[in-house]
Symmetry: C2
Subunit: 195 residues, 2 copies
């Protein structure tokens, strides 16, 4: 009986942690400054329960960020990057834009909490895949070679950041931005007649 | 004699103000945090003389910023924006990149000093010219029309900002960036076979 009670309590605790993390991801993605009280309320747990699992707001934000990093890596890992480099880049950009839009505010919330090393890891999984794909596209003649790779990577990042800012200003919708990011990056990478 | 003395003093004062502003533009363009002492030294005037003309560092930074805004407007006004929109865009981007590189740090130094209205004016002269040129290029069939103008303007700004960051990181040289900004923006604006 005592052992069963402990097991049930542990299952409860796991469920609570999951609920807290789910609520925190959802709320931080909308507002990086959301309070611990609001997160507890959305998770359906009390403040005391929340603080029992995460002793500070920073500890909670860190746990959320590591979860976001892991699920981002998983989502990127599931993208098919084989075949025509242009099509593969379109798939990678679409997924990246979706993830940026979904988790961008979480990364902002985390910027004071994660270590520089952890922050680097947020971008690394994406940067590595984009880099490999740009190299393959150049090798196979799909992308222009009269610009340094490092410039092409900087351009892709700049267009993605510019898209976030444009959506934030209300200049374009999130859905439109998906197509615009793709078409703009593919145009910037395309082999031109003069190249 | 008294009148001549006053005239000579005024001429001295004007020369000192010019020397201080010249030195301040040059030093702030390298380091937004440069001290008033360093500016006075580079201008060849004493601290007391400098503070006689500019009662605070903020007042000096404001005067420098207004001068930079005026000379940027003048430089942009001198660019030939007629003829083929692609060539005109290449000229405008080259001048913009040169000005950004030269005065970018001054604008950063000014960001806490200028009013939002003054800061807006820093970008307005450029934004207005780029906007008019993108519109003309679309009308004349030189630039693609399957993207909103506001997106194309955001892309141009994003590429310029990305270039500054890339130079700052040491990824590309300032000279290389001139060509890369031009080629990337023209590729992003170009009419494509699928457009």
């Amino acid at each position: 009986m005592a052992a069963e009670g402990v097991t049930a309590k542990r299952a409860d605790a796991r469920r609570n942690v999951e609920s807290i993390l789910d609520a925190a991801v959802a709320l931080l993605a909308i507002d990086p400054g959301v309070s611990v009280n609001e997160i507890a309320k959305a998770a359906g747990v009390g403040r005391v329960t929340l603080y029992g699992h995460f002793p500070s707001r920073a500890a909670l934000v860190e746990a959320v960020s590591l979860r976001v990093i892991a699920s981002t890596d998983q989502a990127l890992g599931a993208i098919d990057l084989e075949g025509d480099p242009r099509d593969a880049m379109a798939r990678l950009l679409e997924a990246t834009w979706r993830l940026t839009h979904r988790f961008g505010a979480v990364v902002i919330a985390a910027s004071g909490v994660l270590t520089p090393e952890e922050m680097r890891r947020v971008h690394e999984g994406l940067a590595r895949r984009v880099h490999a794909l740009v190299e393959r596209g150049r090798d196979e003649g799909a992308f222009r070679r009269d610009m340094p790779v490092v410039w092409q990577l900087a351009t892709i990042q700049a267009v993605l950041h510019g898209a976030s800012a444009a959506v934030h200003r209300g200049d374009v919708t999130t859905d439109d931005a998906t197509r615009l990011v793709r078409d703009t990056v593919l145009a910037a990478l395309a082999v031109t007649s003069s190249a």
